[in-house]
Amino acid sequence: MQDGGSAFALAFGLLASADADLLEIIGLSLRVSLTALLASCLIGLPLGALVATCRFPGRSAVMVLMNALMGLPPVVVGLIVYLQLSRTGPLGWMQLLYTPTAMIIAQTILITPIIAALSRQVLEDLHTEYSEQFRSLNVPWRSEIAALLWDGRFTLMTVALAGFGRSIAEVGAVIIVGGNIDHLTRVMTTAIALETSKGDLPLALALGLVLLVIALAVNALVFVMRQAAAKFAYA
């Protein structure tokens, strides 16, 4: 298995050379996945908080559904979004197919259930802990949610990282709605799929290692921010 060793060397070379094409692909990967993450948090966190704090009929069904949707197959999401955005589809007039926006939409659909379901669990646990206090102080519902989101922020960061991990790593959805078009919609995972299909396994593996380094960097960044924020909060 000489591929492994040469892949490491190749990955290091790729990173060291700061090849313009590679940087473009890395940039697009981050832009698509981080934007999708932001959108998912804007939708998923309030949704999770709502389900965590409110009692309504069908709540259990909503919870089961949210949990089940965490297992959405990326290729199915890609197909559904493709059918909507295709020029003959209902949203075809927007001309979004084969653009980074289409990829962001697909990934947002993919990871919103993860953010919503996990944050629901986090916030519900916190809510149980705080409920008596809330009741005794007669805290209004909106402040209640704000307090939960704020006090749960460190755990919620990990929730966001889970969503980011899913979006940066998936290939099934973005290759269908993005088309893996050079200099337009090619991201790390679709580039890896392409090199694999060309039989260039060392290069594909090297790109995979680069992707790992990116994920590592993002996680390290969040860790540092979290440490800093914690120090700031409890200082």
Binding site: L34, R87, Q95, T196, S197, G199
Partner: protein, 274 residues
Amino acid sequence: MNAGRLCLLAGLLVSVFAAPGTVQAAGKSIFIQSTTSTANSGLYDHLLPRFEAETGIEVHVVAVGTGQAIRNARNCDGDVLLVHSKPAEQKFVADGFGVKRLDLMYNDFVIVGPEADPAKIAGMSDVVGALQKIAGVAAPFASRGDDSGTHKKELALWSAAGIDPAPASGKWYRATGSGMGATLNTAVGMGAYVMTDRATWINFKNKNDFKILAEGDKAMFNQYGVILVNRAKCPDVKAELGQTFIDWLVSPAGQAHIGAHKIAGQQMFFPNAK
């Protein structure tokens, strides 16, 4: 850590979003739905910069199997279709989705397999005979199984050989349901014979001990065609820009560029537009 450093981190994040090269050019551009062999062999890397320099039109290539490329084009998700399955292309035009089909270029299919060659087909040029030998000893054979141009060709050859591989599916006949590259990887992994277009094979880097065993049969001819998607069915098609691209491809200059594309000294495609 202080607020200043947090701001720095936030700034870094923002700069990722605003990274250069991510802004879409507002210039003239078309989408072509294409087969993978043309993209994987680097033909577009060879042709498109020249075309863009001459006309200022940017060409975005979506490279998928012929079957999927045609389906995408039927959904109006492309301006030009460039694939290799003449009957399917003619149907596409007959159904009103394409304006006109033009021959563009050709190469040929080959059968590759492991050095051990259990069916003893090395050096054969009679492809039907080779397939019969493979089926005769039930040697593993990997099929695309994805409705691509190559898959359709392979099925036509099995039928010419008087063999229906369907009952053997999952035994010696293994339909991968994936692209040419993925199927080659699978075939190499399990030591199976596989039919591929020559351009993809020459470019393929994970050959292991595989080599071309059967080639040179007239029946292995692989014709590529190019079609402008019909504005009558798809009003958003950029017909003028697409036609400019097609005209350029079939022009003497475009044909010369196609013929000049070589990898390791081997010509990938042979222009034959009329």
